[in-house]
């Protein structure tokens, strides 16, 4: 570990300058070509292919440009991407059918425990990882058979045009319709994040959020009921709140940080409030019985290298857990990312263990929350 710390500044000193000069284009292929020297003895070299799941659209395009192409160039392993809305149902189906056509899938944290117990994943070979990668990636994000692939923040965003002086700074402000009038938006499909926002608005401290006891849930629903008339539209698709903020149908809403990032970089007048954000990790897993497990291990090791992790972040807007990537990211980007320690410090981090835990009646806490959410929203 100390070795990697030693190496890092030397390498990065040169690179960092280049990156800063190169601004947004810094992580594209020319920069990488210059860096190939460092990978002269690439230990991940292999052959064949690896079948990797991703979400499609600009996400997949970004990953392909920033991660897959460098990976193929460095190792000779081709990346075949497969695209679906969500990977979990397909993984579960493949597992049940006994024919695994994929190597790598991303699963949301709350689904991980069930799938892990069903034995769907292969343990991750951390011995392939660089020292730097291991050092930069917090241990809590490196599980035995899964590794956090990226963090998603759900944060408060507002239209700067609606509040040119001073916008809302917390969920309490979000709830304060007198001080900050204007149409609001919240995510319709999921309970947890709205409940947490409501509790924060009610004055519950970040550290006291988990577990979500029935008392707290009741308190949150009361709070939400009070705000219900002011929510003009409960959004359902990730791009919606951004679109509606731009169209002035919303003055403020909760949004996915990565989606907001893409809009802000294109000049959208949207401001993010990290205070009270909700951070969730999605996990990358290698599927047991997949066609190219060895290559999958190599891709994991590769994409968690700080340099590549920074590429991932720029390609997708959602940063992976390796904090060393901060050294490779353009400075103007860092304040907008949840990997920024300053931002993550203000966020509530999802308690995946509690959410996936079973209640006495056999339902998981997530199921229970969703059921109450359904009852509340349809009432």
């Amino acid at each position: 570990m100390t070795d990697s710390v030693d190496i890092k500044p030397r390498q990065f000193g040169w690179n960092r300058r280049a990156l800063l000069q190169g601004a947004a284009a810094s992580m594209t292929i020319p920069a990488l070509a210059r860096a190939t020297e460092a990978f002269a003895q690439e230990k991940l070299t292999g052959s064949g292919e690896v079948v990797v799941y991703s979400y499609g659209g600009s996400f997949t395009e970004g990953v392909r440009r920033q991660v897959y192409e460098p990976f193929t160039k460095a190792t000779g392993i081709k990346v075949v991407d497969v695209v679906a809305d969500l990977a979990e149902p397909q993984v579960k189906a493949m597992h049940q059918a006994g024919r695994i056509d994929w190597d790598i899938a991303y699963v949301v944290a709350q689904n991980y425990p069930e799938m892990h117990e069903a034995g769907m994943f292969v343990p991750i070979d951390y011995s392939l990882w660089d020292e730097e990668s291991l050092a930069g990636t917090p241990a809590r994000t490196r599980l035995k058979d899964a590794v956090a692939i990226y963090g998603v923040g759900m944060v408060l965003a507002y239209d700067q045009r609606a509040y040119p002086e001073r916008g809302p700074q917390s969920w309490a402000d979000f709830w304060d319709v007198k001080k900050f009038p204007g149409p609001r938006g919240l995510f319709a499909s999921e309970a947890t994040r709205n409940i947490v926002s409501a509790l924060l608005a009610a004055g519950v401290a970040t550290k006291d959020i988990w577990p979500l006891t029935d008392d707290k849930i009741g308190q949150a629903f009361d709070k939400l009921s009070g705000l219900k008339p002011h929510i003009t539209k409960w959004w359902a698709a990730g791009g919606e709140p951004i679109q509606l903020l731009i169209n002035r149908e919303y003055a403020m809403s909760n949004v996915y940080d990565g989606r907001a990032l893409a809009a802000i970089r294109q000049g959208a007048p949207i401001k993010l409030v990290w205070n009270g954000g909700y951070l969730r990790y999605n996990y990358a897993t290698i599927l047991k019985g997949g066609p190219n497990t060895a290559n999958a291990q190599k891709l994991f090791a590769f994409l968690n290298r700080a340099r590549i992790a920074a590429g991932w972040t720029q390609g997708t807007g959602y940063p992976g857990p390796n904090t060393n990537q901060l050294d490779y990211l353009p400075a103007e980007l860092i304040p907008l990312l949840n990997i920024n320690p300053e931002n993550i410090g203000k966020c509530v981090i999802e308690d995946t263990g509690w959410l996936a835990a079973k209640r006495p009646d056999g339902k998981t806490n997530v199921d229970y929350l969703q059921e109450r959410w359904l009852a509340w929203r349809t009432r």
Partner: protein, 587 residues
Amino acid sequence: MAYTISSTEIQKTTRALQPARPTPWAWLMLPGSIFLAVLFVVPLGWLLLLSFGAPDWTIAHFVRIAQNPAYIGVLRTTLQISCVVTALTFVLSYPIAYALTTGGTKLRTFLLIAVVLPFFTSVLARTFAWVVLLGRNGVINEILLQLGWVSQPVALLYNRIGVIAGMTHVVMPLMILPMLTVMSSIDQRLLRAARANGASPLAAFLTVFLPLSLPGLIAGILLVFINCLGFYITPALLGGVSDVTITMEISAQVVGQLNWNFGAALSTVLLVAVMAVLWLGSRFFPIEQLLGFSDDKIGLDKTARRQMGTQWLMRIGSAANALDRWLPSMGGRGIPIFASFLAVLLLLPVVIVAYLSFSASSYFVFPVPGYSLQNYERYFSDPLWLRATVTSIRIALMATTMATMLGAMLAFGLSRGRIRGRGAMIALVLSPIIMPTVVVAVATYFVLVQVGLQGTEFGLALGHAVHAIPYVVVIVVANLRDLNPTYERAARSLGAGPLATFRTIIAPLVMPALIVAAFLAFLISFDDVVYVLFLGIGRIATLPMRMWEGITQDINPTIAAVATLQMVFATIVIFVNTLLGRRKAQS
């Protein structure tokens, strides 16, 4: 001498009284039945087992549904929305279908385009078009405010109104096309006969045209109602927080929370509820007969009931006749004018989508800040988009071929086979579209994976065919009623073998219905995003799939450009069809 009953009539009567025995036509059901059995019944059975917790048997999932009023509430909401949309669609579609049947070539082409194009607009682009029209700062609110009719913007979107408008807009082809095929086969001279016998235009319509168009109408209502149950993207995008449909919930359970047993239990409840609704419906309306299944199986009570329906319309018709002198006369132009007005309404969102596709902004902004072809450039310069387009067309063609052939054979068998348990067979054929697509898709995956067809275009086409067969069957059956068996007997007597009879007599007579059915099957395959997610195992990128990614991952008007290109293509197809039809009529 002319007043004695002829011997053929006696034969006809006695034959009708004999117990039904399957005819050779029943054999036609075989291929389609096997197809559905393998690709749908097996998965359906698996699903049922799953809902009972197989292999650990339990009814806990059903208990959970029964205990939480929210699930029943969601089911009720779904049925409510479906009923309202079906009713509204019917009211709006009927005049359009009527004008399509009776209008000139120009009017027909215009109406057909207006009806079909909304189907080709991407759901997100369309949603934004609705925001432009119905939003707080939308066109309608602007007009209302300017007129001073309201002092504050009216909430037209993100509530039930928005859901209903958005859904109605898309399902109209499903109502209009079956109506159209049946209406075109109605003898216009019957209307003249009614007029000559003293019926005003309105009364003639109510007492003659309307009852004769019933099979198409029932087919349309059935298809639209069932189709509405499966909506979950439009309600999520246009609805309010409480507009949760059962399909949204099932989808969340299956895809989001991986609770397949519970999702299966919810689907089972949905299936049972819909079957119950249809069964109840058939108590009051003889759906089977109205759909056009031949008369000879009708029991006396059903004939009586049908008679009652006719009587009822007759009473309304005769009442309308009395009002005739007070009704304003539009000189027969009322319906075409009204239909054209509706068509313009249907086209408004479509036109907005086309307009947005030329936007220079990278977001949906109205009005566009500047014009640019960047969205089209992005489409044409991206091999992924182009490849997806070709893939979609290829899969849709495969699915259309299978669904049209198997569905048409099933329709003939069902209509003429005189098999026992026809009602059950019809229910089975309709089930693939009653069940939420996501559930059927997961189940079908397990069948395909047994033979290694997962992730292949053919496998996906098989799934689409299962989903399209019900549409084909309903449309063809509704049109078989007017296919007089005498023509076939005549052909047989003139020396045509069964195949030659089919080729020379049946096929040409059923062809219009088959074309419409094939067209719908194509649309259904071409529009799908759910089957492709499961059966494609991520390896097949179709056009709607790419557009769907555009919705979940990005928001940019490229999808508006893709939608516009699709609409241009559809328009060209309709135009060419019209021109060919005209040339054929001339030669």
